[in-house]
Amino acid sequence: MAPKKAVGGNVPVLNPARNQPQSSKGQGKVQDFKSLQLEQEFKSKHLGVLGVLVWILFLHVAGIYFFTKGFLLTRMVLDNKSSCEVLPFESMTAIAGNKDKGCWHDKSFDKAVVIIIDALRYDFTVPFVPNDETEYAHHFHDNIPVLYETAVKSPANAFLLPFIADPPTTTLQRLKGLTTGTLPTFIDAGSNFAGTAIDEDNLVAQLHSAGKTLVQLGDDTWQSLFPGYFDENLTHPFDSFNVWDLHTVDNGVNEHLFPLLQSENRNKWDVIFGHYLGVDHAGHRYGPDHAAMAGKLQEMDRVIRDIIAALDDKTLLVVMGDHGMDTKGDHGGESDDEVQAALWMYSKRGIFGRTSKETLLPPKHARERPVPQIDLVPTLSLLLGMPIPFNNLGSPIEEAFAGPKGNDWANLATVNKLTAAQIKRYQHEYATARGAGDDAESFNLWSAAEEEWKSASKGFTSKSTAVRASYDLYRKYQRHTLDICRGLWARFDVVSMVQGVLLLLGGIMFIVVYARSMRADRTEFTGRLLLRAAIGSCFGATTGPVLGLSGLVDMTIIDCSVLLAAGASMVGGFSALVGKSAQLTLPLPSGVWGWLAFFFTVSQSVGFASNSYTIWEDEILLFFLTTFGVCAGISSMRQKLATDRILGVYHSVLFVILGRVASISRLCREEQMPFCRSTYYASSTSSISAPWQLAIPFVVMLFLPSVVRSFYVGSKSYEDNATLWIGFAFRLGLLITSVFWVLEGADDGGWLPLSKETLKTGRVFLAQVVLSLAFVAGTAAFVYAKPCVSISVSKPQDDPNAPPAPIIAGQEQKPRTTVTILGFGNVYGTRFFFLVINFALAIILMSKPMGQGAIALLLWQILSLLEILDTNALTLTNSAIGPVILGVLGSFYFFKTGHQATLSSIQWESAFIPLSTIQYPWSPLLVILNTFGAQILAALAVPLTVLWKRPLQTHDRVSTSPSTTKSPNPATKLLSDVIQAASTHILYLATINLATTMWAGHLRRHLMLYRIFCPRFMMGAIVLGVIDVILVLFAVTGIRFSTVSVGDVFGW
């Protein structure tokens, strides 16, 4: 058992008081007491350090909150409602308020069936026309022909148009637009998981107040938007977020829809809203180019034909998509594929028309003759004889009012005058409330339109040019106002944004001082720091309401006190640090490593000002990592010891190669095309893994525990718990994970003769087993495990009869007994690494097969990084490079696990890996674990940058008598190093966050704001928050358990 590198050189530092009491018992007691004291000191200082991190988290959250409040666009919601009795303009001739004939305009239909096929993209509905010979029809082509057929065969009965959604293309936002007729502002984009009721005037509310019986079937988002508006007996909502389930919602809608269409039930209802989700779910789960999508579209085709057959003359049928889907079947952003939905209207009466021959056929592409989705609101309102909702900005759709011959210009002019007048009324109210005036152009358009209208009303012919002109001008006025509003609601609250940026900046300045310019033990400052920060925040929190109430500032009381509390606590915190200025140095980077860390952070931050660097972030991170690897190799060449040199160069080369290998896995964002090829899924139009990718989990299972083991063996630490945890538990967890993903693949491909339910139940069970192994058993093991050391005692050869001493403690020991402790050199690092392994297991389960390979490479690369840090003497010098490179690694692997800084790349379906339904708070947490798994793993490894192969130093109580001057507790030095590393890591993330925040704010009028800068800002902010929490709850908290465990064995 003789270790290879048996060196006594650093041994004398070990002085295990508890295990090796000195001769007298009294002294032993003193020692025990002393070590208890030291343990207590460590534990209390540890709590203090956590307090500092929590305070930093508070500063970040406050800063992000204030910026977000001003940045994410808000629109004033007016309470005004349109009413049947009041026309939008003063008129002598028109009579308002005839409910039987229609409110503002004669109604065309009594009843309506509004069918929403979620994510019905326009190109699904029109015949596939190849652009060149190599193009072939996909699964999503030509499978729902009914819409196009009817529109071509009987144009008077049906029309089909591209229906353009306003981003964000989430169902909740779209339903708001489709019923209120207003533009979405970004503020609501995040509330897809919990919709709130609409209090603006809207179509559903108008129908309800007109006494119509409304029925809603399908997606339950409607219920949260319009609570209480629907007939309770006939309405059947279904859970909308179970994207794995393609059929429950659709079958439910069919089951309840068709009985209502029977003639005996027709008078039970007035308007039915049916919302099918199967197409959307097929897209999310399989991507559009999959047989499941073809099947779903064919099913929808049959459903629509059946509805047509059951329809009567008085009923209008509307079929539409609320948004499209991108090439992977996801949505949320504003790419063309996501916004181009389809709209189809049908009636048996034949009242629709086209005003010219060119528009007779439905457009071949969504680029031709598109109509905004809000146009549905005035169209449907006027067709059903309802007043147009007050906030509407849409225009009546021409085809619906042009008459069967397409020449009813008088009708067109009338409906457009009504709509324009309502828009004008709304604009007037909004301007009054907001304190802004009309612009000249819309005024000119409006008066010109009124002129033409007046001259036309004298002519009395519906074909007169004046009528057409007034129609055109009203139309222009409507579209002009729409454009103005699009610009207007991009109005940012710059003051709040600046407050947020200043808070974030202040936070960074504090962390810079705290992490990089203090020479003394950080734990000594904790008390003073927290006290002053607390005083500051109390002061701020109490001054806030006073200022808020006195009306000096234009803020709510809570905002005011949060802002002042954050600001004042920052002043307090600074005063605590600067008070001991002798302990401070200028926080300038020094040496190549320092400058490299600084350069990586700052150049990446500067790069976020450019959309190119934001788009290509994954490549740039790889470039940085390779640079680091090369520099590590160079630095290793300088090491004096041959072992350091060889190991260092080996791990540097390994680090570069691993990064390269990981870069194979990628999911391209739309803007990277055509220079990028996705490999994360089976194809670029799919969101399932290819069959060969299912082998990756098995490869990971076979190799990853061995890789981890090799790093433990390198320091003779593969002892005791390590064998059980790495060799058995970790491997078992990975094996179950592999089986899980095979079952998943079997379900997708239908390979096994088992029912979907059986497969689902089995899968969920397996996933829960893995998660409980990682988090329940893993946490228990982490808290209670002994360090990874093996202690053996050997007697000298010349005394073979003597029994070996059982342990080194207690017994009177004979001379020349040799005690060998294996794993002594890396006792802190190997003990703490258990935590990283636990999380790695859970994150691997939550990732798709390709991502599992990436996470395994990440774990390997982290270990390799730690060895590089050790051989280059960077662990004990508190270099910034380790925590910063971990930050870069985390960001890099975020992209390698199938994510991009876009909303549509969020793998929502990961919430259903260990659960079959949505459960709060677990489902969002699972999605976070999937999305930010790489960053979380990297953050957990941050303490290791100072713990890996850290020499064991215990308190030397033999040489210094208890009464002499207080010597520093080695455990608090360790704690100080850990908090320094953690705050350096936060510094990297906070700088990235500040940069993306500032750029998003600065480029708020940029064309690419919503596509590129805003998602990147949101990602940076969420990552910062998540990692702050992870560091507080797990990484730094874990230090307590690992250090206490080491202390229990080796003394304090």
Binding site: A2, P3, K4, K5, A6, V7, G8, G9, N10, V11, S590, G591, V592, W593, G594, S610, N611, S612, Y613, W616, I620, F623, T627, I634, S635, M637, R638, Q639, K640, L641, A642, T643, D644, S715, K716, S717, I808, Q813, P815, R816, T817, T818, V819, T820, I821, L822, G823, F824, G825, N826, D870, T871, N872, A873, L874, L876, T877, S879, K949, P951
Partner: protein
């Protein structure tokens, strides 16, 4: 082993007090030869390089590989004339007594080109002198091609250019002294015109990668072009700047005050 119970550590921490290997003094930084011609040409040479680069730039964007291939002999010639005119050949440096032995050991198979002048009979044989000057130059070119062998087409010519820029000077001045090259790979050479040029080439190539992802849609935003341009500019800046008294003789520090820190941890 005197103490009754010995704790044996399994790991040898980097700071363990084992005796560091005896470091032999590294070759000192070199100056440009003092002659008027050398001094002048040392400024003319970078100018020629940049001018040539600028004039051939459009052709480079058109067809990088063939252009680079065609330029290669000219670059080799330029570098050759530069090292011969401006730099002291290998072995002519003052501190060669120790490096001599070392190099003989490490380069057993290869005839060390720098031996000629050290034997102090260069006056007798004019040819020996010329030979002594030409040999390291040819060797340096040959060696740089050797370094550049592994990869294909674009990479090959790119590497060939970069290798010619960076290591022709180093090989000419220092030969193939193993300790020197260890220092080169550790980027631990003191700054002088030779090392400055080599380091500048590498750094310039690194920075040359930066404009590639930008969406300016320029034809030159392609893989080898910007990197090569960066390498050339880096070389020129490196040779010129590292000669200045401000930088001359300075070394790159990875960790500040490393010795001080090591003492602390021991």
């Amino acid at each position: 082993m005197a103490s009754p119970s010995t704790f044996i550590s399994a790991v040898n921490p980097p700071s363990a007090p084992s005796q560091p290997p005896v470091e032999k003094p590294s070759p000192p930084p070199v100056n440009i030869l003092p002659s008027q011609l050398a001094q002048t040409y040392s400024y003319v040479h970078p100018t020629i390089l940049l001018t040539l680069g600028a004039t051939r730039f459009n052709a480079l964007v058109e067809d990088p590989v063939s252009e680079l291939l065609n330029d290669l002999p000219w670059l080799a010639l330029l570098q050759l004339s530069y090292v011969i005119l401006c730099l002291p050949p290998a072995g002519s440096l003052a501190s060669d007594s120790s490096s001599n032995e070392k190099s003989q050991r490490s380069t057993s198979g290869i005839t060390r080109p720098g031996k000629g002048p050290r034997r102090k009979h260069s006056g007798k044989n004019e040819w020996a002198g010329i030979w002594a000057r030409l040999m390291p130059a040819f060797l340096s070119v040959a060696l740089t091609f050797l370094i550049a062998t592994p990869v294909i087409a674009v990479l090959l010519v790119l590497f060939a250019h970069m290798a010619l820029l960076s290591s022709s000077g180093l090989t000419y001045v220092h030969g193939i002294d193993a300790s020197l090259w260890k220092e080169v790979w550790g980027f631990a050479r003191p700054a002088d015109a030779v090392w400055g040029g080599a380091f500048g080439t590498v750094l310039g190539a690194w920075f040359g990668a930066i404009p590639i992802p930008l969406d300016w849609d320029r034809p030159w935003q392609a893989f080898p072009i910007t990197i090569l341009a960066g390498a050339y500019m880096g070389y020129v800046v490196g040779t010129l700047v590292s000669r200045t008294p401000l930088l001359y003789g300075k070394r790159i520090q990875f960790t500040p005050g490393q010795d001080e820190e090591e003492e602390k941890t021991n």
